[in-house]
Symmetry: C2
């Protein structure tokens, strides 16, 4: 399992990915699932992946080697595409190529073609963008109304994003809320775990401002986990107890 989220705010873009992979709970490993192509001053493009690791790595390999556009015949990579939209198309193209090569064999082996990507970044002269690319190679773009996207084990960490993330929050608050979202997920699903890779791309900086790995025992993340648990417990205490009594005779005693 994996959990990755991308958050797109006015000030820029945050990408977060855990590093846990597992083939059954008795075969757990650590793999980097967040990658960056960084050409300072010109572009910064980041990709996070969830799903079958062999498939996501194969797609990443194609993206690194470059793919021939079937229409134009040119070799393209994430370092050469002229727009983030084209970058999303390129990831989709890679996905379809891998499916073409492996789809039948995987089906025979009873392995489903499950893989998805988050693609975020900015290319000089254009605004920052965030996309989610599905396993068929189709994709959606993140908008300002719900300015985040998630792949992998997304449900446990969605309520906090739904409530706390808006397009106008500070980019470091976005990172903080993203880390709370990852913490909620890790707490409920052992398939998501530390270390966590994070990237912060500030609008128009055209470089990663933060690119770090949060390891087991990281003091800030440990504090965040404790503070958030504390805050959640405290938050519900301020809400009055329910006033409901029975439709029938019984009433609340205390």
């Amino acid at each position: 399992m994996t959990y990755c989220t991308g958050i797109l705010v006015r000030e820029g873009l945050v990408m977060i990915a855990d590093t846990r992979t597992n083939a059954g709970i008795d075969n757990v490993s650590t793999f980097r699932k967040l990658h960056v192509w960084d050409r300072p001053g010109e572009r910064v493009v980041s990709v996070a992946s969830a799903g079958n690791l062999s498939l996501s790595q194969s797609v990443m390999g194609l993206l690194a080697e470059g793919m021939k556009d079937p229409h134009s015949g040119r070799i393209e990579t994430l370092e050469t595409v002229p727009s983030m939209f084209r970058a999303a198309q390129l990831v989709g193209l890679g996905l379809r190529q891998i499916r073409h090569e492996l789809g039948e064999a995987l089906e025979e082996a009873g392995v489903s073609f499950e893989v998805s990507f988050l693609l975020g970044g900015q290319i000089k002269g254009k605004p920052p963008k965030l996309y989610m690319i599905y396993s068929a190679g189709n994709f959606i773009e993140c908008g300002m109304d719900a300015p985040f996207l998630q792949i992998g084990e997304h449900k446990y960490g969605k309520p906090i994003l739904d409530r706390a993330v808006t397009y106008d929050i500070d980019i470091y608050d976005a990172l903080k809320i993203g880390l709370i979202s990852v913490d909620s997920t890790m707490r409920s699903n052992l398939g998501v775990g530390l270390p966590i890779d994070i990237i912060v791309i500030r609008r128009d900086a055209l470089a990663t401002q933060v690119s770090a790995r949060i390891e087991v025992g990281d003091p800030y993340f440990q504090d965040l986990r404790n503070s958030w648990s504390e805050a959640l417990r405290a938050a519900h205490m301020n809400i009055p107890r329910p006033p409901y009594t029975s439709d029938s005779a019984a009433t609340k005693e205390d």
Copy 2:
């Protein structure tokens, strides 16, 4: 979709179920999924269901009509079983009977046998119990370490239960936290919706203390939703912003 949760605390038992059913998002209805067998002074038994409505209703029908124990030959219902453990077995028996009757036809029709139950209550002279019964008829009992069980769309509402529910909390706090859990779920999945049915069974009362339906526009639930959103937004503000800077040259500017 459905979301039901049962919370077992020292003071008793809370059961909560939404009422939304859908066969596709263009076919949404309201059905009661929380049922009570109440013999004041002797027992109170409550069942909540999730999954295929035709299957859960069929099992509930069998439970109401009574089932012949294949070993003893006696007719048993939830009003006659001598223990909650036997009640859980009876629900499992009903499930296996329905699967025996319908399983093959459903398989031919490509419909999966998806249905699960929460069973909670107390029978005179015994402690309150809470069980989750799976579609094969096997079941687990809720323990004091994680004193809640969930069926249906359980992920969105689990983080708050994980953090705020312990065996020693007040039973009306358990109800409140359960409602927050339902709210988080409703917010993220349109397949879960109002009205919500709630039941509170206080230990040794041997009757439902609260049995109510929370309708659209209910003022307490509306307040709870707003207060909780407010509290979540406020909670993360008290956590300091992340200190991470880039592994490479860039540092945080502000």
